[in-house]
């Protein structure tokens, strides 16, 4: 199987083939790498490449995979070939919609914008309190507030939709 793996702005094509139990043949560009990979704990891989040992902790959410190795975090996006083709289509169709959701459970302290309001890039749109700290969420790009899904005082779950900006 081939995967398009992107790390920040760079994207590489990675070929994965099984070569026995927990053994993989990895192809990156024109190099082939033999990898011994064992899932040893939930979300933790033990990797041996050329007899060198690595421990990798993962946070997986669909195609976004965060890999932590030796204190460094590598935020990856891993797409198979079909998904890569689909993403090319949807990126074109989406036209800059921006859904802001709560990354963690908390309480809505203040909604800073109203539906229909124009916002600028980096403008604060909502304040969520969690663990005694208030966190302001900003709009990534300029646009118009299409919908506000919550109101002040609401308790929100992680992943809950807060605002839609177009």
């Amino acid at each position: 199987m081939n995967y398009y793996v992107s790390l920040e702005e760079k994207e590489v094509l990675v070929g994965v083939a099984e070569a026995g139990v927990a053994q993989f043949k990895i192809r990156i560009e024109d190099r082939e790498i033999a990898v011994d990979a064992h899932k040893v704990e939930r979300d933790a891989w033990s990797i041996v490449i050329d007899n060198r040992v690595y421990e990798a902790d993962l946070v997986v959410s669909d195609d976004d995979i965060e890999v932590l190795i030796k204190g460094d975090m590598y935020p990856l996006r891993v797409l198979n070939e079909q998904k890569k083709a689909l993403s090319r289509v949807s990126e074109a169709a989406e036209g800059g919609k921006q859904l802001i959701d709560a990354p963690m459970p908390g309480k809505v302290v203040k909604v800073l914008v109203m539906e229909g309001q124009e916002v600028e890039a980096n403008q604060g749109v909502i304040i969520i309190e969690a663990m005694k700290m208030e966190n302001e969420f900003k709009s990534r790009a300029a646009g118009k507030v299409k919908e506000v899904f919550v109101k002040e005082g609401d308790i929100v779950e992680g992943g809950e939709r807060l605002l839609l900006i177009e």
């Binding site: 994965v16 997986v60 459970p105 969690a130």
Partner: protein, 503 residues
């Protein structure tokens, strides 16, 4: 000695105090809010009482309820830990009236040290150096210029009624002073309705160094040397160590004596910490005294071998200190990393939630003071600190390498933590060389980190691809099973084109 102690706190510090009680043969009483029934401090205690709903104001800060539980449970003493009610003079006074011993200083010492101006006046009178400047407001511009010349530039111009950075001006040289006074005055006038100003010497790039003291009820006061707490993020300590690389033996002795004098000036009792700012020339100035057990007390315990919590309890029970100043020795080097449920890669955003996997490091010289376990849900209502990882080494170099080793073994999944941040600090050249001040993390380290190129990106990419490959494989196996298992209902799918189709 007491037979029953109530621990008016939660999290790792409640566990720490309960451990001391158990080792002393004292029964412990835990209190818990509705979200803490499963917490370790409840399970390690001998007795437990529900104290109220999750919000701290209705549970761990509820003085009436705590007193009611203390009476009901027959507690002879209360250990407040740190935070919550630990430095609340009203709580201390109420306990005194009830005849329940607070494991901490008398209410009056707490009150004096709790007030910035009163504390400075009191310790200054006892010969403790404070940041040079004026404590009363200055009237005329001429007077301001004269005082500024006296303490030496740069100086801070502060509104007497100030707060929140308003009416605050850093003045680097005399030519800037007149316009700075006018601006600060008008800002202070509009913000606080009071334009009186005072002046303090500005300490450039200070280090934060503090002295641990112990004082018994008989009037014996000793110190347990210093801790360096300059590694701070937004003025919050995140890494502490003892001894400080910056402090010489001579200055250590001097600071110790000054800290003891500060404690004696308020008839202190129990464990306390005198905090100082130190400038580049190693001049030190009193900052404040914390009238409680500190978060970072374990580093002192590791280098002195003295269990500070047990000493607190013995002092509160009226026992005299068993050691003299000259018997206290600082051996080796200890470092503590505060591990928070925060995402260091997303601007330290808090990450409460369920701890799915937890593997705690061990081996020589490693101590983990924690209040959590695998399967514990970190509540959103309290401080997001989940553990303090502490190591001891024969010297600073060994301690740093040991901390790096222990951090690399520390596995926590389900929530993001600051473990990776600490690994990066342990690898930082300036930290290793001891070249830092209180601005280091915010102004130097985070910038250097942005420029550093992590070296294992190819391994990460390989793991990511393998993870996706394995996940897709097991998903397609599952969907095959579903289709096979459907048997007689297979006909349904012919009416629903596309059913079971996967991408």
């Amino acid at each position: 000695m007491f037979s029953k102690i109530l621990v008016a706190n939660r999290g790792e510090i409640a566990v720490r105090v309960i451990r001391a009680c158990r080792e002393m043969g004292i029964e412990s009483i835990a209190v818990y809010s509705d979200v803490d029934r499963h917490a370790l401090h409840v399970r390690y205690a001998d007795y437990a009482y529900r104290i109220g709903p999750p919000q701290a104001s209705e549970s761990y800060l509820n003085i009436d309820k705590l007193l009611e539980i203390a009476r009901m449970s027959g507690a002879e003493a209360i250990h407040p830990g740190y935070g919550f009610l630990a430095e609340n003079p009203d709580f201390a006074r109420r306990l005194k009236d009830e005849g329940i011993k607070l494991i901490g200083p008398p209410p009056e010492a707490m009150r004096v040290m709790g007030s910035k101006t009163l504390a400075r006046q009191t310790v200054s009178a006892a010969g403790v150096p404070v940041v040079p400047g004026t404590k009363e407001s200055i009237e005329t511009e001429e007077e301001v210029l004269r005082v500024a010349r006296e303490v030496g530039y740069p100086v801070m111009l502060k509104a007497a009624a100030g707060g929140g950075g308003k009416g605050l001006r850093l003045v680097n040289e005399e030519s800037e002073m007149r316009s700075a006074i006018r601006m600060a005055r008008s800002e202070a006038k509009s913000s606080f309705g009071d334009d009186s100003m005072y002046i303090e010497k500005y300490i450039e790039r200070p280090r934060h160094i503090e002295i641990q003291v112990l004082a018994d009820q008989q009037g014996n006061t000793i110190h347990l040397f210093e801790r360096e707490c300059s590694i701070q993020r937004r003025h919050q300590k995140v890494i502490e160590e003892s001894p400080s690389v910056f402090v010489t033996d001579e200055i250590r002795k001097e600071m110790g004596a000054v800290a003891v004098a500060a404690a004696k000036a308020v008839d202190y009792e129990g464990a306390g910490t005198v905090e100082f700012l130190m400038d580049k020339e190693k001049n030190f100035y009193f900052l404040e005294m914390n009238t409680r057990l500190q978060v970072e007390h374990p580093v002192t315990e590791m280098v002195t071998g003295i269990d500070i919590v047990k000493e607190q309890i013995k002092i509160a029970a009226g026992e005299p200190l068993r050691f003299k100043q000259e018997e206290i020795k600082q051996v080796g080097h200890a470092i503590e990393c505060r591990i928070y449920a925060e995402d260091p890669d997303k601007n330290f955003f808090p990450c409460p939630g369920l701890i799915e996997t937890l593997r705690i490091p061990g081996g020589p010289g490693v101590r983990d003071d924690s209040g959590v376990f695998e399967g514990f849900e970190i509540p959103i209502h309290y401080d997001p600190m989940i553990s303090k990882l502490v190591v001891w080494g024969k010297d600073r170099q060994e301690a740093i390498l040991r901390m790096g080793r222990a951090l690399s073994e520390y596995i926590i999944t389900g929530v993001k933590t600051t473990v990776p941040f600490h690994i990066r600090v342990m690898n930082n050249r300036h930290f290793i060389e001891g070249d830092f001040d209180t601005n280091f993390i915010d102004q130097v380290f985070l910038k250097e980190e942005q420029e550093r190129i992590p070296e294992n990106s190819e391994v990460a990419i390989i793991v990511g691809a393998i993870e996706q490959f394995i996940r897709e494989k097991s998903e397609s196996l599952k969907s095959d099973e579903v289709r096979e298992g459907e048997g007689i209902s297979l006909w349904k799918s012919s009416f629903r084109p596309g059913f079971g189709r996967r991408f």
